[in-house]
């Protein structure tokens, strides 16, 4: 009976996504044909750019890791009924938190411990930044969308101040970021890998924990209840404010972890654009997943493929790489449209 329901759920999921994919593919193809590009050629170029070798695929995975982490964090906040636009700032504050610890580099500790400590600091940095948006909402009546947006600007200002001020490279301050970290503080990656195995394992573990916590615990059920009907939740002795705070703190911590991993695993220094827009992209991922947990790894993988593959477009077809953004946007709009039409028909 259990397997029956799983099969039914998979069938329902496929049925749900087919119209979305058709709509998105149709819209993008029409756009490309109108611009006189062949959609097939573009898919081939993007596949060549990301799927033809392990090196290229590991490049794709290095995008997948932060995107998956941000999306997991956003699942928590969306479940609680919060629009965590502040996710970008939380990535940045996580990166700063990690950098603080990595720069201190207490020599008496073995480097792996320092790196683990830096990741913890990243979670704390992002989590506190999330908590701040939550407190602004609960105590100050500031909608989390506006609070988050404001805090994003503040985080961006802080990172620029640090890079051009106290943490500037010896002699010159530049947009290219701080000094490169000592080699032993890099998250190790084997030769021919663009992604650190540790980061990959972390992201997968975080996803599994997210899935367990949100879909298979009483905590997850309470978060969902708060998101769906905060008034009724109070009658079930669930404090909506408290659960909202926990959700946005967890969300911030996971976004912060993404930022920390970018510092120690990808850039090996703090750069101004450390978040690379993965937070905002995560919002689109979770919306496309219709706020469900299980589709998120696949959708993030698809988006990572678009991002990685599109780097090839200017070289091979002389198309601007921002085409990937167009495709991502078309997917999300199609998904929102299909979900919206479906709810309207039911309602």
């Amino acid at each position: 009976m259990i397997s029956g329901t799983i099969q039914a759920r998979i069938r329902a999921a496929i049925l749900q996504s087919v119209p979305i994919l058709l709509l998105a593919a149709g819209a993008v193809s029409l756009l490309l044909l109108a611009l006189d590009f062949s959609p097939i050629g573009i898919i081939r170029a993007m596949a060549a750019g990301s799927l033809t070798s392990w090196l290229k695929f590991s490049q794709l995975l290095s995008i997948w890791v932060p995107l998956l982490l941000c999306s997991c964090g956003l699942l928590f906040t969306f479940r609680a009924g919060l629009w965590n636009i502040g996710v970008e700032g939380q990535v940045v504050m996580g990166a700063i938190g990690a950098t603080i610890l990595l720069r201190m580099n207490p020599g008496f500790l073995p480097p792996p411990i320092t790196i683990i400590g830096a990741m913890a600091a990243a979670c704390i940095g992002g989590g506190l930044w999330g908590l701040l948006a939550g407190v602004l909402k609960n105590r100050g009546g500031v909608n989390e969308i506006f609070g988050g947006l404001g805090l994003n600007f503040v985080a961006q200002a802080i990172i620029l101040y640090l890079i051009f001020g106290p943490w500037k490279r010896a002699g010159i301050a530049s947009m290219s970021g701080t000094d490169i970290l000592a080699r032993d503080l890099w998250l190790p990656a084997p030769i021919g890998w663009r992604v650190a195995p540790a980061a990959l394992v972390t992201a997968i573990a975080v996803f599994i924990l997210t899935w367990i916590f949100l879909d298979h615990t009483l905590f997850g059920l309470k978060v969902k209840a708060v998101g769906l009907n905060p008034k009724a939740a109070r009658l079930f002795h669930i404090d909506p404010n408290r659960y909202g705070l926990v959700a946005i703190m967890v969300g911030g911590a996971l976004a912060g972890l993404a930022g920390g991993l970018q510092v120690t695993g990808v850039y090996h220094r703090l750069i101004p654009a450390v978040s690379s827009g993965y937070g905002y992209l995560g919002l689109l991922v979770v919306m496309l997943a219709n706020y469900k947990t299980l589709p998120v790894p696949l959708i993030t993988l698809f988006f990572a493929w678009l991002a990685a593959g599109s780097i090839q477009l200017p070289i091979m077809l002389r198309i601007d790489s921002s085409l990937s953004g167009v495709i991502q946007g078309a997917c999300v709009l199609s998904a929102l449209l299909v979900h919206g039409l479906r709810t309207r028909r039911q309602g």
């Binding site: 329901t5 298979h216 615990t217 059920l221 969902k224 209840a225 769906l228 009724a232 079930f236």
Partner: protein, 474 residues
Amino acid sequence: MIQLVNIHKTFGKVKALQGVNLHVRPGSIHGIIGENGAGKSTLMKILTGFIARTSGKILIEGREVALKTPESARRLGIGMLYQEPLDFPQLSVLDNFMAAAADGNPQRQAEIITRLGNRFGFSPQLSARQGKLTVGERQQVELMRLVRDRCRILILDEPTTGISGEQQELLFGTLRRLRDEGRAIILVSHKLAEIHSLCDRVTILRHGKPAGEQEKPFDEEQLLQAMFATLPARSSRPPGRTPGRPILTMEEVSTRAGRVGLDRITITILEGEIVGLAGLDGSGQSIFLQMAYGLLSPEQGRVRLAATGRDEMARVFLPADRLGKGLIAGLTVREHQLLAGAAPFFIHGGCGRAETEKAIDTFSIIGSPDTMAEGLSGGNQQRLLLSLIPPEARLILLEHPTRGLDLQSGRWTWQYLRSRLPDNGAIIFASPELDEIMEQADRVLVFYNGGIILDRPTNQTSYQEVSRAITGRV
């Protein structure tokens, strides 16, 4: 001036109005009274063009009119003053006054509002923000706007709810003046004092049907009898329990929440009591229940509960808006059971399934453990809420406990509530049905304008006394 002939209105199967006739003469104030659900608001919405009648004729000055949209009502000179002012709180008084004015010249409009203000004794502050004004002042701005737009038929819905005594005097004076100038005024009210001092004629509605009409001077006893259906023979109500120690005490509790707030409520509810809260909708019953549950805290005064080991679990509240405030749309029946019961931290698909199936069986809920709350019918939603009451609950608070239930489900609900109430527990319920209160409650509290104006054991009061109290007469 305006004449309604044999008006019917049905919403699906529900007959909201059945054969209502009304004749309002120019230069008169015509009252419309009736209890909750008598059809007063439906009638007003038809007159203002918000909803279309199912059948019947409307004549204005002898000519038949269609009256299908609010715009056509406005053009015919029908204006309405709503209970909740329909204005733009962010804009200034002058901007609000200018809204929908044919002439948009601020200077001329300022002159007009000042002149009207002088005439009626209002003192509008043109640059003040509308939202900062009291309900009474907002009402004055609306009233002046209607007069400016040459409204000939003026409808007022419970205009004295939430305004001060002084503002009421001003309003009454204005209404009398407008009447003497030849306008037709329709006053919807449940306050007999108001009807007495203002109206020339009154029509009583009951359950959507006309239940009588009277010329001034009114016979109050007859009005009351026409408003409320006669009490059915006292049913076989189980004997009340012996009241025990206090379970809930309120001392001088006041708040401004809700339409009328609460006004210095002092009351003690005892263990073993079943207390019914009567009154027109929005007279304070709902705020009282929310206060007793702890959803609201008093601005003044104190709420005390009997000390128990696990205070938090000892109270439950079943709100009238079941899907909006009591249940969680998007969660299944089983998930509701998990939230209400003692669920383990880790949940799998089988958790709580057996218990839920048992509850579905016991409470005859039509649905499965995986049915979403919004997929249940109103009656089944109420059964689900009842099934979620924890066994240790001692204070059970309910709003409209049998709304939307058929007779049998209603009876079953009360049997269940009585059977599961512990000796040291109490039930407090608000109901728009006086029958239900007289039948089920040991004690009745009548709310009027945010205060309790009558507090009696049900076997020491009469239907008549309670219905008088609902209209503000004790």
